[in-house]
């Protein structure tokens, strides 16, 4: 068996190598056929999503930018245990812990909290291991994407950009995130 006739996938097609006949050499029928093909495409639906106006729907399990959650009273859940930083395969998370002072009970849920919490969005691979490692249900990956920036410094997100805002949490945590959080807490 020569290589010419050998079939590996059995999907090969035989090439027609006969010389062109008069109609084919006249080009015009082929040109006309091609033009019909392109004309059909004019009426096809374009798959384009007009981005700033229309946003593509994400899957339910999409992992975007992190959020540091608050509890039902508005206090930060994070206790700066460092498990997220430990679990992070990209070593994107750094934090400094601090002790809660008397009178700060409304701000921090437990006696220890993160005074500095930074995620480097250039290092982060959005794997979601921090979310899985967190024993306090404090960090979640949301559906929003990291916004573009002009310099590297702006990609290091501090607490100012990570902590869930107090006033309008619905902007940042949607119903699905809420459900995921309650399920997680119930599971413990």
């Amino acid at each position: 068996m020569s290589t010419n006739t050998m079939q590996v996938s059995n999907r090969g097609k035989k090439v027609d190598k006969r010389p062109m006949n008069l109609v084919e050499r006249a080009y015009l029928p082929a040109v006309f056929g091609g033009m019909i093909t392109t004309f059909k495409h004019i009426f096809k639906k374009t798959p384009t999503i007009r981005y700033p106006e229309v946003k593509r729907e994400f899957a339910d399990i999409y992992r975007g930018v992190h959020i540091l959650a608050r509890d039902e009273n508005g206090a930060e859940r994070c206790t700066a245990c460092g498990l997220c930083a430990l679990s992070c395969p990209a070593e994107a998370i750094t934090m400094t812990s601090a002790e809660r002072l008397p009178g700060e009970e409304n701000l921090y849920r437990e006696e220890k909290y993160a005074s500095r919490y930074e995620i480097n969005m250039l290092r982060c691979i959005f794997c979601g291991l921090c979310e899985e490692a967190c024993p306090k249900a404090a960090i979640f990956l949301t559906e929003s994407m990291a916004s573009p920036a002009m310099d590297r410094g702006n990609f290091i997100y501090g607490k100012d950009r990570l902590v869930e805002p107090l006033q309008r949490p619905e902007l940042h945590i949607n119903a699905f995130e809420e459900e995921r959080r309650t399920k997680w807490i119930e599971g413990r």
């Binding site: 040109v31 091609g34 093909t37 004019i42 798959p47 384009t48």
Partner: protein, 346 residues
């Protein structure tokens, strides 16, 4: 020459000029839109609703770009090139009949800038001048790619002019006149359109028109993959803009010529039914409308072909021009002559 004629002609020339430039402007947008539709895209839609301000932004961009004239170029010829290209593109439309005579303000108005009795010859003369714009621009650039592009363009245009001229000769034999108005009047009635009497000449003329406009599939003069930008490689700012703009004017004029020579010009099917029943002025206006519909169709046709066919190789182009189109058009002339003689003898 009386003053009313002067006023009529000046207004007509200004209007035709304005329409030519306007259509050429919007052809740039139409080209991108047609390309996007054929490629399942949306195309430019950011500047104004549906992108209708896109040509304006393009023009502003061209004007504000830095203008570079290469050090070792011939400056006079370098500036002359795009100017000549634009000039020859603009003056072709002078002999095209836009519609029947209008009876207005108590006098007859000819909707044609100049009804010269050698209209077809004038068109061919001006079209062959168009080569100079490209040739001079490419030569003056002092750049190998530009020169190659210019040489390709000029030899291509000269080669295809032969077949084009011979295709038109068969039309002239039938209408027995070189005036474009006579040729249109000769096509009165749908079945008398030259496309039905002279289908071969029509195909040859269409193919040659693509080559004359330097448009795909014969756009070898600006073949990006081989020659950077072809003859306009060194041109920047509005000089480049003029070259590109001249191309679209040429497309418009070619579309008008094809409609005039083969598709009945301002005649439309059912025209004779309206004759005498409604005002003659309205019929001529409808005719002008029909003429522009035909022109728009052929402009679309030019773009449609561009986004369907791949570019020819240079030897294929020359082979097609000299070995296929030229003999075919000569045979067509002989056939037409034979049939006409036979009809006369009968």
């Amino acid at each position: 020459m009386d003053s009313t004629l002067l006023i009529d002609k000046s207004v007509l020339i200004l209007v035709v000029f304005g329409i030519t430039l306007g259509i050429a402007t919007y052809s740039t947008l139409a080209e991108r839109k047609v390309a996007s539709w054929i490629q399942d895209r949306i195309g430019p839609d950011r500047a104004g609703p549906f992108g209708i301000l896109q040509p304006l932004t393009d023009a502003v961009k061209f004007f504000f770009k830095e203008e570079i004239i290469p050090d070792h170029s011939n400056k006079f010829l370098f500036i002359l090139g795009p100017s000549l290209s634009m000039l020859t593109a603009c003056i072709t439309s002078a002999v095209i009949p836009w519609g029947r005579d209008l009876q207005m303000f108590g006098r007859t108005i000819h909707l044609q800038a100049a009804d010269i009795n050698i209209g077809v010859l004038y068109v061919f003369g001006v079209v062959s001048l168009g080569v100079y714009g490209i040739m001079i621009g490419g030569w003056a650039s002092n750049n190998k790619f530009s020169l190659l592009g210019a040489i390709r363009a000029s030899s291509q245009m000269i080669s295809y002019e032969l077949a084009m001229g011979l295709a038109v000769i068969s039309i002239l034999m039938m209408s027995e006149s070189l005036s474009l108005r006579d040729i249109v009047e000769n096509q009165h009635g749908f079945i008398h359109w030259n496309v039905f009497c002279q289908p071969l000449a029509c195909v040859i003329f269409l193919t040659c028109a693509f080559a004359e406009c330097n448009r795909a599939p014969f756009d070898l003069a600006e073949c990006e993959s081989e020659l950077v930008g072809g003859y306009h490689t060194e041109f920047s700012s509005m000089k480049l803009g003029l070259y590109l703009f001249a191309e679209y004017i040429n497309v418009f004029v070619s579309a008008a010529l094809i409609s005039t020579l083969f598709f009945g010009g301002y005649n439309f099917p059912g025209m004779y039914l309206l004759e005498g029943k409604i005002d003659a002025n309205i019929i001529s206006m409808l005719g002008t409308l029909a003429f522009f519909m035909k022109i728009f169709f052929f402009i679309f046709f030019f773009m449609w072909v561009r986004w369907t066919l791949p570019r020819f190789r240079y030897d294929q182009l020359m082979k097609l021009g000299w070995q296929m189109l030229l003999p075919l058009s000569i045979i067509n002339v002989l056939l037409t002559g034979g049939v006409l003689t036979w009809l006369e003898l009968k």
